[in-house]
């Protein structure tokens, strides 16, 4: 064990881990964080708390993660390089660790152009791989990025993202290898709809033994409507939604589309369970957290294994 992270414990136990996410609210409404978190309690091992996702200002991921921690839910602190330089990131990391937050995701973040502050300057002092290196150095060497010693170094279980569906595809395994070499302990992938492509990527991952150096959590997102399927297929860069998925959603009446989306999600998880090297699932039910419990149950991932946490 590198850390006290519950997610790390679950992954080491060999059980399929389940994570989900909680997008903080756009305002000082802590009760909304609590409501979302309560929907997930008991159904997932840890909950990602997103950091100004889609480049829109939200309650800080650190603050929302503390609220989760106070509820006894294990947060995964997301942090993006877009909004903070290395000083701010490291101070937030030791701050978070001081609040018993021991698991985090190191990301570059959506470009401000996609959000509601397109006029903002991006920071990008370091990139996501250098970010992983920095958190590892803090943990394993007890040193700040600048080289000075840290008093009671934060022991973070380090996560990073991977998108097997972005281009150039042939580079995507190498990029994962680079993140692992930098120090990533676990990976959460982009939402998977194109299973064939994901399996091909995993084959490349296994050929290099990367699945034995890092835990890979497969990302899934239930689709609510055919409109959402089309939007993700056509408008979201780096998303790969096959036409067959859109057609399947379009093939059922509107009032049954949500159920069809859940079905697709559960079937996806079932198929991904067969893929060697998949260590768990990251269920991103965007503003649809109330469905996570159902997905977890129907996918045979409930009850969560008792590993004595």
């Amino acid at each position: 064990m590198k850390t006290e992270s519950v997610l790390e414990k679950m992954l080491i136990s060999g059980n399929l881990a389940v994570t989900s996410e909680c997008g903080p609210p756009r305002g000082a409404v802590p009760e909304k964080v609590r409501q979302k978190a309560e929907l997930l309690r008991g159904y997932v091992d840890a909950v990602n708390v997103t950091d100004n996702q889609t480049a829109m200002v939200r309650m800080s991921s650190f603050a929302a993660a503390v609220i989760l921690r106070q509820l006894g839910i294990h947060p995964i602190l997301q942090m993006v390089t877009r909004d903070r330089n290395r000083l701010a990131m490291q101070s937030d990391i030791i701050g978070a660790y001081s609040h018993d937050i021991n698991t985090m995701m190191c990301l570059s973040g959506d470009h401000p152009q996609f959000g509601d502050h397109p006029m903002a300057a991006s920071v990008h002092d370091i990139d996501s791989i250098q970010f992983v290196q920095m958190v590892k150095k803090m943990r394993d060497e007890g040193k700040f990025q600048g080289g000075a010693d840290i008093e009671n170094a934060p022991k973070m279980f380090i996560g990073a993202a991977a998108n097997p569906f972005a281009d150039p595809f042939e580079l995507r395994v190498a990029r994962l290898a680079k993140k692992i070499a930098a120090g990533a302990d676990f990976i959460q992938t982009q939402c998977i709809y194109n299973l064939d492509k994901f399996e091909k990527w995993m084959e490349g991952v296994r050929n290099r033994g990367l699945h034995e150096k890092c835990y890979i959590l497969a990302g899934v997102t239930p689709i609510k409507t055919v409109g959402m399927a089309r939007y993700m297929k056509n408008k979201v860069p780096g998303m790969d939604v096959p036409q067959a998925v859109v057609d399947r959603m379009a093939g059922v009446p509107k009032e049954k589309q949500a159920e069809e989306g859940i079905k697709i999600c559960v079937e996806t998880i079932e198929r991904l369970k067969q893929v060697k090297g998949v260590a768990g699932f990251h269920i991103m039910a965007i503003e649809w957290e109330q469905k996570v419990a159902e997905i977890v149950k129907r996918a045979g991932l409930y009850p969560r294994p008792d590993i004595g946490i």
Binding site: D127, I129, Q130, Q133, L171, A174, K178
Partner: protein, 222 residues
């Protein structure tokens, strides 16, 4: 080169509205090449301003001159013969030129007529694109001759983000993904292995990190 674009005419008009006699100064270097502030553009802007003020019943006097280089005090001296009786100076050079003029002529208001954009190259006739941010510690030797600092929207130093699509950047399909270009180039050179070497966090001090920069060449400095 340093690229620039002329400011909107309305903005320039507002700057010089209070004045009667203007010295309009172009530059023969970068802004001439990118067709923003050379001799030709000085002539055009001069006519536009005179016409515009004439419509408002004002006879604006403009003295035109284009310097070899506005960022060099040696050439700025040429203006001393033209400055008498001038109320204000309008510069069509990059920000460096504007500042050199205002440093030399402390009692004259100086206004920029262009917006200085970036260090770039000509992609084709009439199109210029950013190529360098002057980070002060060039990475091109390890990135296949393509700069991720200036050409990746997220300034990623270790590979493409998850938004790279068909060779294009997620923020704009007209922008090439720098890491697609780097990868293609490394492959063409048989240097794919180089991709997996991690480029460590950058020291920004040679860039803007240590404040305004200066180069002092002891062998040349007087």
């Amino acid at each position: 080169m340093i690229t620039a674009e002329r400011k909107p005419l309305e903005e320039i008009i507002e700057y010089i509205r209070p004045f009667q006699k203007i010295l309009l100064v172009g530059c023969n270097e970068c802004v001439t090449v990118c067709a923003a502030g050379g001799r030709k553009e000085v002539g055009i802007l001069s006519s536009l301003l005179q016409m515009s003020f004439l419509k408002q019943g004002k006879n604006l006097q403009i003295r035109e001159h284009t310097l070899e280089r506005q960022c060099d005090p040696e050439y700025i001296e040429e203006l001393t013969n033209l400055i008498d009786g001038v109320d204000a100076i309008l510069s069509m050079a990059c920000g460096c030129g504007v500042q050199e003029i205002s440093r030399r002529f402390r009692d004259k208001p100086v206004f920029p007529a262009v917006n200085t954009k970036f260090m770039g190259a000509s992609e084709r006739q009439g199109v210029w694109a950013e190529r360098c941010q002057g980070c002060g510690d060039c990475l091109l030797g390890i990135t296949g001759g393509i700069c991720p600092i200036s050409r990746c929207s997220k300034q990623l130093m270790n590979g493409p983000c998850g938004g790279s699509t068909k060779g294009k950047c997620e923020i704009n399909p007209d922008v090439d993904c720098a890491w697609q270009l780097i990868w293609d180039r490394l492959k063409a050179l048989g240097l794919e292995d180089r991709y997996e070497r991690i480029i460590p966090a950058k020291d920004w001090r040679p860039g803007r990190g240590a404040g305004p920069r200066k180069i002092i060449r002891e062998d040349l400095a007087e």
